[in-house]
Symmetry: C2
Subunit: 333 residues, 2 copies
């Protein structure tokens, strides 16, 4: 178990001080070009590996950005993460990913854990947190960005959209088509907060438009997926056609419902309209295409990265960015 190679070792090998090695390896121009080349060469030969931990410790800058998502297993969340990642790795930042499984208590726990790593910023999906988590975040004295939502009482910066307003787009569209008897399909109330906002948006808009009360169908615990959407239909069989339209909390759920309808011989959209949410690939490629709402997932990641760049450049006043949402007409409504 030989000790690791350090700058000290490289310095000894070239008969110089560790400080010069440090400078040379960072490409500091004040070190003579020839010396710089030599040091890099020797470091390579010795198999020297830079120690970011030591650097983070000494400079008190970790180069980490913490990101908390409900789940990584969601094409839209993954898209946001990718946007962030692409934008930030260029700046030498490394993302620390945590998955809350749609639970604020888990989020609180992860916030605590991740803050011990001294991240330079933290990005949270959603605007709802435990009181303890809020307190920790306020004390942390690092930039906080809440995404995918427009929280009434933000912790710092915001890059998101109104889930309720986006859901309203769907209901208004259905009402224009003359659909009156709606059902909303989503996860059990509680965990999925963005889904909950969408549900509230649907109920409120329907009421405002004078439609009959919207039936709320519980598809199971979050995260709800294609299979849940299919199961909702399978359980109710043709009785589902008593509704005019099924407003699903996400495209995968809508897709599951749509395909189960096909199996049962329920005609979409003639017997029943189905709408999704999120503008996932599956909504676009599906035949028929699913009516949905685009939420600009990748853009949220990019814009959040932009906010961070601003903050690191000194512009620390809180930003509030609404990326909006957009109705995408398909063939299922």
């Amino acid at each position: 178990m030989t000790r690791r190679v350090t700058m000290r070792d490289v310095a000894r090998a070239v008969d110089m001080s560790p400080m010069t090695v440090s400078r040379a390896l960072r490409g500091d121009e004040t070190v003579n070009a020839k010396t710089r080349g030599l040091i890099k060469q020797v470091a390579d030969d010795l198999g020297y590996v830079y120690d970011s931990t030591a650097q983070a410790f000494r400079t008190q800058k970790s180069g980490f950005v913490a990101v908390l998502l409900p789940s990584i297993n969601n094409a839209n969340f993954a898209e946001t993460f990718r946007g962030l990642s692409n934008a930030l790795t260029g700046d030498g930042l490394q993302l620390l990913l945590g998955s809350t499984n749609y639970r604020v208590e888990k989020e609180e726990e992860l916030v605590g854990q991740l803050l011990t790593r001294n991240p330079e910023a933290i990005i949270l999906m959603g605007g709802h947190h435990t009181a303890a988590a809020r307190k920790i975040l306020e004390n942390a004295k690092i930039p906080v960005i809440e995404i995918w939502d427009l929280p009434p009482d933000p912790l710092g910066h915001v890059v998101g959209f109104s889930n309720a307003d986006a859901a309203a787009l769907i209901v208004e569209h259905l009402a224009r088509q003359g659909r009156r008897k709606l059902a909303f399909v989503g996860a059990s109330a509680g965990a999925d907060l963005r889904g909950g906002s969408r549900r509230e948006g649907v109920l409120a808009t329907a009421a405002a438009l004078g439609l009959p009360p919207v039936e709320v169908i519980d598809a199971g615990e979050a995260p709800v997926s294609m299979r849940h959407g299919a199961a909702v239909i399978a359980e109710r069989d043709r009785a589902i056609a008593e509704f005019d339209a099924l407003v699903c909390v996400s495209d995968p759920v809508a897709f599951g419902a749509l395909n189960e309808c096909r199996r049962l011989g329920i005609n979409v959209p003639d017997d029943l309209a189905i709408t999704g949410f999120g503008h996932f690939d599956v909504a676009v490629v599906s035949s028929p295409r699913i009516t949905t709402v685009s939420v600009h997932a990748a853009e949220i990641g990019l814009r959040a990265a932009g906010v961070l760049r601003d903050v690191f450049a000194g512009k620390s006043d809180p930003q509030w960015i609404d990326v909006g949402a957009e109705l995408i007409l398909g063939e299922t409504s």
Copy 2:
């Protein structure tokens, strides 16, 4: 800009040495229970946040495990990541995720970057790496696990399956059904190495079974998605039905092709069989269900975590785990 609260500060507050604070906060039994409680209380009151960076630096144990995936935006890869994550966060390990965008050069770069963080292990998807990356990894003296493949010349541990053999299952099935004129739809040769192995498996098996040469259709640069699958059909219109079967590199591609066929009035499976790969939700929920191969993505993550636990417990002899693959019959073949 007040200095951060350290153990030293807590120690001063309770009039004890930092060492006792350190022990107390870690729950060391040798510290008097009452003292321990007091210290935790005071630490909380002062808003003390433990510094993992300092710990990692002092103990030379980072608590990181590096994970390199081609993309996070793939339900199966995400599933593997989730399996890993769930299994390892219990052990206090934090995953460092890197995305190679299906390129070995990018992998090499990321390996270099991530190793500077002193990960305690590194997990790579795939068995093909640049020579430089191999060298770095061999010198790193940390456990290496290659997943999702069975590399001929492994760097360390292996948890995967044979993509070629899995692809063979599909071709054998199609041959049994009397399909002879096959086309393979995948990403352009080069980047997607797992896809390449599948292609080779398809070509070799077809040849071995005496089928006519398999046409290789290039769906575009990796990663290929639903849209690429749809585009392949759209470009060729009804001419695609000259084939007996379309062997797609993944379920999303198959799904895209299937739905575009529906648009064009091509009957699947009567006019054309379509098969996927990966046993994604979309294959199961789709109507018709897509014939595919299950690759046990989550299990790969779990088993890899198991390997790590073994290694950290001292059992360092290289493990070779073949999780296998399984033909899943659908309604598209």
